[in-house]
Symmetry: C2
Subunit: 353 residues, 2 copies
């Protein structure tokens, strides 16, 4: 029996290319912090599991935290990657083999998977099945997935935009930011975005409908710049940046302004976090700063999905992606987002559908 | 006619002792930043006005901002005092003379008045009449006034305390803090306070019912201290302190924790504000930081007043005041609150009732 099982397993071993983290990262991540490893995977899967062929992987800023060897603080939801092991992140896959009655071979799903060609998913129940396939499959890592829900919840649930209010999005063309900008326009707001290149500034204005946009790298007096774009102040700030940008924005917030604290990418590669010195504005202007993570809003995803699909079909919503080809280019794509190299949502295509 | 009016006015001139600001303050205020001036006031008042005999004046942290020569940021509600002129602040007075049909001589009122013996109030409509007089009149500068409403709104309206939650009050025995502590106990919370002396720590535990309290001046590792008092973390932080305390508290907040940003007294005398470096905790723990000022909640004051009166009568609520006698001691009392010299709510008694 033992010998048989073992030989059967051997027969099922398949080569599996993986992106691994060599060791914990300090400062900005580099391509050399990661490696490609040719591993082997058994296609024999235990009861309840499915074997996934990974198609798309999402490059997300929060992954930077998983590259650090950090001690968890009370209540943190972020755990470190294991050096030498395959990266884990959100991805889209096709069910190659199913030992779970809920999943059929050939189905498309998305959820947390490995940065590799094939992954055995032991708890596929937490994956979402892909419902609409007449849109690019990759959209489930963007406008139809977590970035979309994140943008929608952050703007509407947390900041309750009202017609005529002013909205500032500091990552104007990012996977989340490009949607916040479009949603804020739908809400009748005056929307200004900032980005790191002139190309992105143009994209923001021409493609996403921002009323105005600027290249923050060319602005040397952020306070004056924000004053110029928001002479009457900011009602809503969608923050994916944190640090000095947040500090300066606080000075420009209007009374009763709202800040969705979605992420703080400017701080993720710093050993010492920048201090926010303008916090007293929170008191005198009665501001609200609300942190959130989309996992708390899973229950509104189905409703959001219908909203997004409808608006995509009616061409009222667009989505721009930046897709790197192949696991070979995965590390470079992932590292690139911390240098602002991506134009739109950064993905890695592992294999053709 | 002209001569008659003028001589009538002269006959009505009365000596009026005043506390004045000599010049704008830098750093911590000192008694010598203020002076006593003997002025004269005409008891002839225009139609619509009332003449107030000031009885109690409130010493409030926000008054520090009015001592600075600052440029208003968008939406700030704080304006500078005028050097050489009388201070303005909340006070309780008796209507000595009324040229307003809504006010009768002998009535007690509270509102923004001068730091002087007598003040002509041109818009008495914005004053509140004192309804209950079987409690100390001075309570209308504390538990029955703005500090009371501030504590109640900050805790209940902004932080929605639930039974069993942990609450931290960093100004445990202050004019507002002593009430937050008592209200949080009423809500069934576990409440810890901090203060600047052992006397106040004892007061917090013995008089206000805090479950525990500590002297932050004797704690040299605030992070460890907070970890000791809140091993499972903090659900609600009532912040009147800001700065490094807020920075450390962020590390100890539980997921979905709430922070009422009421004031930041630790920062008011600093040229450069301390930076809050732990803001990323707001994102990963989904925290809410809510700034507020009680003036936005005037409409709930009548209801709060009934609640407070009832609880005072039933001895379920206590209030500790620190009353300085006479305008001569006004500057010293006001300056003292920035050094933590007051034990309980700091007031100045200008005259006997």
């Amino acid at each position: 029996m033992m010998a048989d099982e073992s030989s059967e397993e051997k027969m099922n071993l398949v080569a599996n290319k993986q992106v691994i983290l060599h060791g914990y990262v300090k400062g900005f991540p580099k391509e050399t912090d990661f490696g490609l490893k040719s591993s082997a995977i058994s296609f024999s899967i235990p009861n309840g599991a499915v074997l996934l062929k990974n198609l798309y992987l999402s490059c997300d800023p929060y992954m930077r935290h998983r590259m650090s060897d950090h001690i968890s603080h009370t209540g943190t939801i972020i755990h470190s990657f294991t050096p030498g092991s395959v990266l884990v992140g959100y991805g889209i896959g096709k069910v190659l083999k199913s030992a779970n009655p809920e999943f059929e071979e050939g189905e498309f799903v998305w959820g947390l998977t490995g940065w590799e060609e094939y992954t055995v998913i032991h708890n596929p129940e937490i994956f979402r099945k892909i419902k609409y396939t007449d849109v690019p499959l990759s959209y489930y890592m963007g406008v139809l997935g977590i970035p979309g829900l994140t943008a929608h919840v952050g703007l509407f649930n947390l900041c309750s935009p009202k017609k005529g209010e002013t909205v500032y999005v500091s990552t104007a063309t990012g996977g989340v930011g490009q949607l916040v900008g479009q949603f804020a326009k739908m809400a009748g707001c005056y929307v200004v975005g900032s980005a790191s290149t002139q190309e992105k500034v143009n994209l923001a204005k021409q493609k996403f409908g921002y009323d105005d946009a600027f290249n923050y790298k060319e602005e040397h007096d952020l306070r004056a710049t924000l004053g110029r774009y928001f002479p009457e102040g900011i009602d809503i700030y969608f923050d994916n940046v944190g640090g000095e940008m947040l500090n300066e924005v606080l000075l420009h917030m209007k009374p009763h302004g709202r800040i969705a604290a979605c992420g703080m990418i400017s701080q993720y590669n710093l050993d010492e976090q920048e201090g926010i010195r303008n916090m007293f504005n929170v008191v005198i202007k009665r501001l609200e700063i609300k942190g959130y993570v989309e996992t708390d809003y899973k229950h509104v995803y189905p409703e959001y999905l219908e909203f997004a699909i409808k608006n995509l079909e009616e061409k009222k919503l667009v989505y721009v992606e930046d897709i790197a080809e192949g696991l070979e280019n995965g590390a470079s794509a992932l590292v690139g987002i911390f240098y602002g190299k991506n134009v739109g949502k950064q993905l890695v295509r592992v294999a053709a559908e």
